[in-house]
């Protein structure tokens, strides 16, 4: 495999770690989710273009469309949290705490 893949794997791993480690905003985790989708799209597109998988070229578009839908759902949840608590701080989501 070519050397570009190392960096794209590294980018996916970085945004995955960023998704799992919270700081204060819920919005930053949603942005890391979008970063994961972008790195997956780039990886899929580069593989398809290098290997000339012509018919698989529709797969990145379908991935992008479903990533947009998922982003919209995440944003609607964030808007509901922000309507209830005023901001989107993660420490507000503590109803299950003892």
């Amino acid at each position: 495999m070519s050397m570009v893949y190392i960096n794209i794997f590294l980018a996916f791993t970085l945004s995955f770690m960023g998704l799992l480690i919270y700081r204060s905003h819920l919005m930053s985790s949603l942005l890391c989710l979008e970063g994961m989708m972008l790195s997956l799209f780039i990886m899929m597109t580069v593989t398809i273009l290098v290997n000339h998988f012509t018919l698989a070229s529709m797969a990145p578009i379908v991935l992008l469309v479903f990533a947009a839908c998922e982003a919209a759902l995440g944003l609607s949840l964030l808007v509901m949290v922000s309507n209830t608590y005023g901001t989107d701080y993660v420490q507000n989501l503590n109803l299950l705490q003892c």
Binding site: A11, S15, L38, I42, I61, A72, M80
Partner: protein
């Protein structure tokens, strides 16, 4: 240097991913995500996929990130914080630059993590056969409507259900 342009673009890709994964305020994270989307589009374009690069700009940056931008402006009103002296950011940047320098130093570099990465064929795209006068990538996407009719129907239906779910979530109680 021009033969390694794709690798340098992917290094800038990883650096901008570090920029928003270290989670400054969401506004700055969104700005850096725009930059990384543009660099990713450059990577796709240098492999010859012009339509898919356009898709990144239209759908991803123009659609999704605009929505993220105004949701951030609406939902988080306070003083945004910049990248303070974050040691994790520095460690990630340093490791990435070390990897890039090691790879760019010479030819015939081979790295094995789980798979074998070989930089030998990096500056050439294997072209087996004549593709005529059409771009085969755009033809592959156009096949979405001939071979992929059922895919379009299922995708459209599930997106409609997704929109209804979002409307129910936003309606709340």
């Amino acid at each position: 240097m021009m033969t390694y342009i794709v690798f340098i673009l992917s290094v800038i890709f990883v650096v901008s991913f570090v920029g928003f994964s270290s989670k400054p305020s969401p506004i700055y994270g969104g700005l850096v995500l725009i930059v990384s989307g543009a660099v990713g589009c450059g990577i796709v374009l240098s492999f010859g996929g012009s339509f898919l690069g356009l898709m990144v700009f239209l759908t991803y940056l123009g659609g999704m990130l605009v929505v993220f931008g105004y949701t951030t402006a609406m939902a988080t009103e306070q003083y945004p914080e910049v990248w303070v002296s974050n040691k994790a950011v520095l460690a990630c940047l340093l490791s990435e630059l070390l990897t890039a320098c090691h790879i760019l130093k010479g030819d015939d570099i081979e790295v094995e993590v789980v798979l074998k990465f070989n930089g030998a064929g990096d500056w050439v795209i294997y072209d087996t056969g004549d593709s005529g006068f059409f771009s085969e990538e755009a033809m592959g996407i156009a096949a979405l409507y001939s071979y992929g009719t059922w895919l379009v129907i299922v995708t459209g239906w599930s997106l409609l259900i997704g929109v209804l779910v979002i409307m129910e979530v936003t309606r709340g109680n």
